[in-house]
């Protein structure tokens, strides 16, 4: 394959009109990082308010807006776009393709995001304020008159982000299925590509359902329907079913690409091939399938028939099996490997270990009668931060340190990278581990005030959160200095690295694999 010429526009028009997968990947990653800081700032507001019992800084309604917006921004604005950014940068490089299959659609998928994020932020200044009923948007908390215009902004934001995600997932699937280099069969693909292929199918099957749910919410609010309005014959619990039919696959959308990142990094720094590649592929597919039949474990307390509760309990427990396969495969990959502990490896190891802590508490919550105690407490908050922060965000940090030499042509400062790692890990555990105890002791989530018995653990959690937030300023410094300069990266970058992305120069040229490589 050949391109007509190698030059490209510069300045603003380069970024506005680009169809280059590396440019679009960079745009996604910067957008995600900005949203990560915005969502993190909201977390700082939450933790500042919770530093002491009683109301300190903000009104309860604004507190609820902060918890809701923090989740929406982090899930839809930070983690999902960050992984799409990684997909854009890495998938063509890893499968030997010159670009994504649909480059112009790729541009549109990205440029839907900034207006959507702006709309979401504007909801905070809309009459009635931003959404305050939680990211789950359960009616009647999201219905009129309880939620104002900000909820409409949020619904339209979800529509735009949903369109972006659906287009992005179609692009990823079309690229992986049709653009692989000769000789790269499906079972020779790098694990990161496999996890993204499966994630894209999860997105495609779940996001449209969510779009349908919020559309019904919109028509209930403004067009006289009663899908979720009990007074009109509707069923508010049905919204919860439809939401979680999307919402549970969504948590795997957030974490499966991180599993792919771990599966790339651990073999590189253990200097051994990935143990059990085939079982890794099938375990990922099994997790994806199971994620569609466990949704009601989020709503045991609504009052389901016993048979339903038992089905969802056992199906949820079953997910531990393929997840365990993956964890044991990573351990077996490291077994007797010639391991070194550069920053990406530290992040990958911490990600696996701490995600497993979140997995174990998830298994506790899957047990129906036990979940009646945990439901809507800080135990849940602790659990999902151990999965989403430790799984997804540590995975993203690992991916950044692993691939940034290929993106910029510069090595990051290893000392600063390790400092960022230790600050993040210590602060993360200080923030979220005490929340397990708060939850078990009965502190509910999404409240700005609490009883005196919860003071110590809340103060530990808030101090941890402030350190965690400050540590990310250090990350910004590392990102900027690595772009601007640093030790020149070699093409292979890491001694143990394998794969097509390491066969191109560092930094990766604007166009790569114009002539398809042959994979043996």
């Amino acid at each position: 394959m050949a391109t007509a010429h190698h030059d490209h526009p510069t300045g603003l028009s380069r970024w506005l009109f680009t169809t280059n997968h590396k440019d679009i990947g960079t745009l996604y990653l910067w957008f995600a990082f900005i949203m990560f800081l915005v969502g993190g700032s909201m977390a700082m507001v939450i933790r500042a308010e919770l530093f002491q019992p009683g109301l300190q800084f903000i009104e309860p309604d604004f507190f609820n807006q902060m918890t809701t917006m923090h989740a929406l921004v982090m899930v839809f604005g930070a983690v999902m776009p960050a992984f799409v950014g990684l997909a854009n940068w890495q998938i063509p490089l890893m499968i030997g393709a010159p670009d994504m299959a649909l480059p112009r659609m790729n541009n549109w998928s990205f440029w839907l995001l900034p207006p959507a994020a702006t709309l979401l932020m504007l909801s905070l200044v809309a009459p009635g304020g931003g959404p305050a009923g939680g990211w789950t948007m359960y009616p009647p908390l999201s219905s009129t008159p309880y939620a104002g215009m900000g909820m409409d902004f949020t619904i339209l934001t979800v529509h735009m982000l949903g369109i972006s995600s659906i287009l992005g997932s179609i692009n990823v699937i079309a690229t992986i299925l049709n653009m692989r280099a000769p000789g790269m069969t499906l079972m020779k693909m790098p694990m990161f590509v496999w996890t993204w292929l499966i994630t894209a199918f999860l997105l495609l099957a779940s996001i449209p359902v969510f779009a349908g749910a919020v559309t019904m919410l919109l028509t209930d609010r403004h067009f006289g329907t009663s899908f979720f309005d009990a007074a009109g014959g509707g069923d508010p619990v049905m919204f919860q079913h439809i939401f979680w039919f999307f919402g549970h696959p969504e948590v795997y959308i957030l974490v499966l690409p991180a599993f792919g990142v771990f599966s790339e990094i651990i073999p590189t720094f253990a200097r051994k091939p990935l143990f059990g590649y085939t079982s890794m592929v099938f375990a990922t597919a099994t997790i994806a399938f199971l994620s569609f039949i466990v949704w009601a474990h989020h709503m045991y307390t609504v009052g389901m028939p016993m048979a339903g509760e038992l089905f969802f309990m056992y199906a949820t427990m079953l997910i531990a099996v393929p997840t365990g396969v993956k964890v044991f495969n990573w351990l077996a990959t490291m077994w007797r490997g010639a391991m070194t502990f550069e920053t990406p490896m530290l992040y990958a190891l911490a990600g696996v270990l701490l995600f497993t802590v979140g997995g174990v508490t998830g298994l506790m919550m899957s047990i129906t009668p036990v979940d009646f105690q945990y439901h809507d407490t800080y135990f849940i908050v602790a659990h999902f931060h151990y999965t989403i922060f430790a799984g997804s965000i540590l995975g993203l940090m690992a991916a950044y340190y692993y691939w940034v030499p290929k993106w910029t042509g510069h090595m990051y400062n290893e000392t600063l990278g390790k400092l960022h790692f230790w600050l993040t890990i210590i602060a993360f555990n200080l923030t979220f581990f005490p929340q397990h105890f708060l939850g078990l002791a009965g502190m509910p989530r999404r409240i700005p005030d609490y009883g005196l018995q919860f003071v110590e653990f809340n103060q530990m959690s808030s101090i941890g959160a402030f350190i965690l937030g400050a540590a990310q300023i250090l990350w910004l410094y590392i990102i900027v200095t690595t772009i601007k300069g640093g030790k020149k990266a070699t093409d292979k970058v890491w001694e143990g690295s394998n794969g097509l992305e390491w066969s191109v120069p560092s930094p990766a040229p604007y166009h790569t694999f114009e002539t398809a490589p042959t994979v043996k």
Binding site: M1, A2, T3, A4, H5, H6, H8, P9, R14, F17, T18, T19, N20, D23, A97, P98, D99, A101, L102, P103, R104, I166, S169, I170, I173, A174, L177, N178, M179, L204, A205, S206, I207, P208, V209, F210, A211, G212, A213, T215, M216, F227, G234, M238, H241, I242, H511, E514
Partner: protein
């Protein structure tokens, strides 16, 4: 607009078929959310 890779006609056709199938899946997903209401 930046230059885009040239695709073979076979690749273009395969990509188009993939896109159509995936778009149909997305539309079915959207409609299914409403169908759940008509039980």
């Amino acid at each position: 607009m930046t230059t885009e890779p040239v695709k073979t006609p076979e690749q273009k056709r395969a990509i188009m078929i993939t896109v159509v199938i995936l778009a149909i899946i997305a539309v079915i997903g959207f409609i299914s959310a409403f169908l759940k209401q008509w039980k």
